[in-house]
């Protein structure tokens, strides 16, 4: 039983061909799995192990190191709010608190605190599925997220890929 669908099996082969050693493909394949499935499941990691000639433990060992790889189901929309130093003094923590309270019981929205997103000239900043939004306030942040939920804004996948 293949975890990757047919078109992604072809993409996985393309990815593997980029590297002289297949283990290098673990991160790109983990992103691909999240693009397809919305999170990085044990089944996905098993197939990544098969494809890269490693063990599921190797894949888990690598993937558990990286914050973008979600090893539990998460919302369709991952809202990453920066609270690092520039965002700290421009209102990032207030945006985070507001969004966490607003979406506490909404399973399609995962709000997370993240480190510096490299958007400090537009602080406070956040990303929704890795799309940047800058100079946000608690209320404008909710408007942005609602735009994605209602479909007026087109979201990337939870790993940040553009949806065709």
């Amino acid at each position: 039983m293949s975890f990757f669908d047919e078109s992604n099996v072809a993409k996985a082969k393309e990815i593997l061909a980029r590297y002289p050693r297949p283990k290098s493909a673990i991160l790109p394949l983990a992103h691909l799995a999240q693009d397809q499935n919305g999170w990085l499941s044990p089944e996905a990691m098993e197939q990544i192990a098969d494809l890269t000639g490693t063990t599921p433990a190797d894949v888990l060992g690598t993937c558990s190191f990286y914050t973008m790889l979600k090893r539990r189901p998460c919302g369709k929309f991952v809202v990453s709010v920066c609270t690092n130093v520039t965002c700290l003094v421009t209102g990032g923590p207030e945006v985070l608190d507001h969004l966490e309270a607003r979406y506490a019981s909404e399973p399609d929205v995962t709000v997370e605190e993240v480190e510096c997103l490299a958007a400090c000239d537009g602080a406070p900043a956040l990303q929704v599925n890795y799309e940047f939004h800058e100079r946000v306030s608690p209320s404008s942040a909710v408007e942005i997220v609602e735009g994605y939920r209602s479909g007026t804004r087109r979201a990337r996948t939870v790993s940040g890929a553009t949806v065709a």
Binding site: R21, T54, N84, A118, A119, C120
Partner: protein
């Protein structure tokens, strides 16, 4: 005060299409690659880069030509790895270069690969940079379609291709050996040197790791000639650098300036000064890892000269990020948030950093939240001294493999140097309130 736009020229001149192949070609992209390949002299590019005095723009400031010269002459394959894992808090220049001028980077990679005789380059792009990744990948495809990459580039017989590799959220992967580990499919933990990457890097082959801005500068060095480029700047800090200015300035943003300009001219002349005409309490001159400077004339009138600021003040220009804080800011709170960052990003390989960053964060948390104890500042200096003996100045002294641990100590050294009396008084008051 004006900027000196070299690396940022195209993206400022053509805000609507600088990242497209048409926009790039209309503003001179790939002309230097064409010239270099027509001339056919790999040593000449290295000579020009050497004459230019170019130093790495990622943080350490190591001379680029010297880094290239460490490659053993007869060992192939070899790799060029591009560090686009920009994550140093308050640095946002490489993201701009990726999103808005990817062809300049591609041209820089192709020229540099030709010069160091490598046929495959890997670009490690920070995972969170979805747009930057897309635009770079598109630029590579478009460049290949036009014959600027791939086999027998422009009929020269030189083959070169570029693979873009996305990270997945780990600051430590910006450290060059951790980056190589990550690119090989492992956890991003730094390697002990030696062997240095130039001898055994990616897949144990000779490898050069260069930053995005560094490589984006190479086509301009070829165009201007190394000697001409070296006329810009001051002392051993030649050329221009992009400074990411953020915090309490009126016009935060990226400014490309000739090195040697003063902090005052950059922060007041270009970045518009401090909001509501307040005074600068302190600023962090080189990313979160650097020690701090204050709003004193001595500091503001210092030149943007990598060696001068290190030798005089023990700070670094690092990644070119300058965070400005006015008088309303609590330096202990900033120190705590920086410590929290380093505690979160410590990879866990070295005990002093794994344990120490966590303790520093805990102590700074209570100090910044009204729960401090009178001996806390000295406790921090003690804990910090186990990571960076002496808790002194750049260049770091360290008990760890990489500089992440000592970076977490910079804020302690700065608190102790500039705000010791203020902090001690506050700790006494806090302790009194809870007695």
């Amino acid at each position: 005060m004006t900027e000196t736009r070299i690396v940022t020229k195209r993206l400022r001149d053509r805000p609507d299409d600088s990242w497209t192949i048409d926009g790039a070609l209309a503003s001179g992209a790939y002309e230097q690659l064409r010239a270099v390949l027509a001339k056919g002299d790999t040593a000449d590019v290295q000579e020009q880069v050497k004459l230019s005095g170019l130093r790495g723009r990622g943080g350490a400031g190591f001379p680029t030509a010297q880094k290239w010269s460490f490659l053993p002459p007869d060992s192939f394959p070899r790799y060029l790895v591009v560090n686009a894992d920009e994550g140093e808090p308050s640095t946002f220049k490489d993201r701009m270069l990726l999103e808005r001028d990817p062809h300049q980077l591609v041209e820089g990679i192709a020229i540099s690969s030709y010069s160091v005789k490598c046929n495959v380059a890997y670009v490690y792009v920070r995972g969170e940079f979805a747009l930057g990744y897309e635009r770079l990948a598109r630029a590579i495809d478009d460049a290949r379609a036009k014959g600027f990459l791939g086999r027998d580039i422009l009929g020269s017989g030189f083959d070169c291709d570029i693979v873009v590799h996305r990270g997945a959220g780990a600051y430590i992967c910006g450290e060059e050996t951790a980056l190589l580990e990550s690119l090989e499919g492992s956890q991003g933990m730094p390697r002990i040197r030696p062997p240095f990457p130039a001898i055994e890097g990616l897949y144990a082959k000779p490898t050069v790791v260069n930053n995005v801005e560094t490589l984006s500068t190479v086509p301009h060095i070829v165009r201007m000639g190394g000697e001409e480029y070296a006329k810009l700047g001051v002392n051993r800090s030649t050329g221009t650098r992009i400074f990411s200015v953020s915090g309490h300035v009126n016009q935060p943003g990226n400014y490309e300036v000739e090195l040697g300009m003063t902090f005052r001219d950059l922060l007041y002349g270009l970045a518009g000064g401090v909001r509501e005409n307040r005074k600068i309490k302190f600023f962090i001159p080189g990313g979160a890892s650097s020690q701090w400077l204050t709003g004193s004339d001595e500091h503001l009138d210092a030149p943007l000269d990598m060696d001068f600021v290190q030798q005089t003040f023990g700070v670094m220009l690092g990644s070119g990020a300058i965070m400005v804080y006015d008088e309303t800011v609590d330096p202990v709170l900033i120190a705590w948030r920086l410590a929290k960052f380093f505690a979160h990003e410590s990879c866990g390989k070295c005990t002093p950093c794994r344990e120490g960053t966590g303790w520093i964060e805990k102590v700074l948390y209570r100090m910044s939240h009204g729960l401090g104890r009178p001996a806390d500042l000295d406790l921090l200096v003690d804990v910090g001294g186990n990571i960076s003996p002496g808790v002194v100045n750049a260049p770091f002294v360290q008990t760890t493999i990489c500089p992440l641990g000592p970076s977490a100590v910079s804020c302690i050294a700065s608190l102790n140097k500039f705000f010791r009396d203020e902090v001690l008084e506050r700790l006494r008051n806090d302790a009194g309130a809870h007695a």
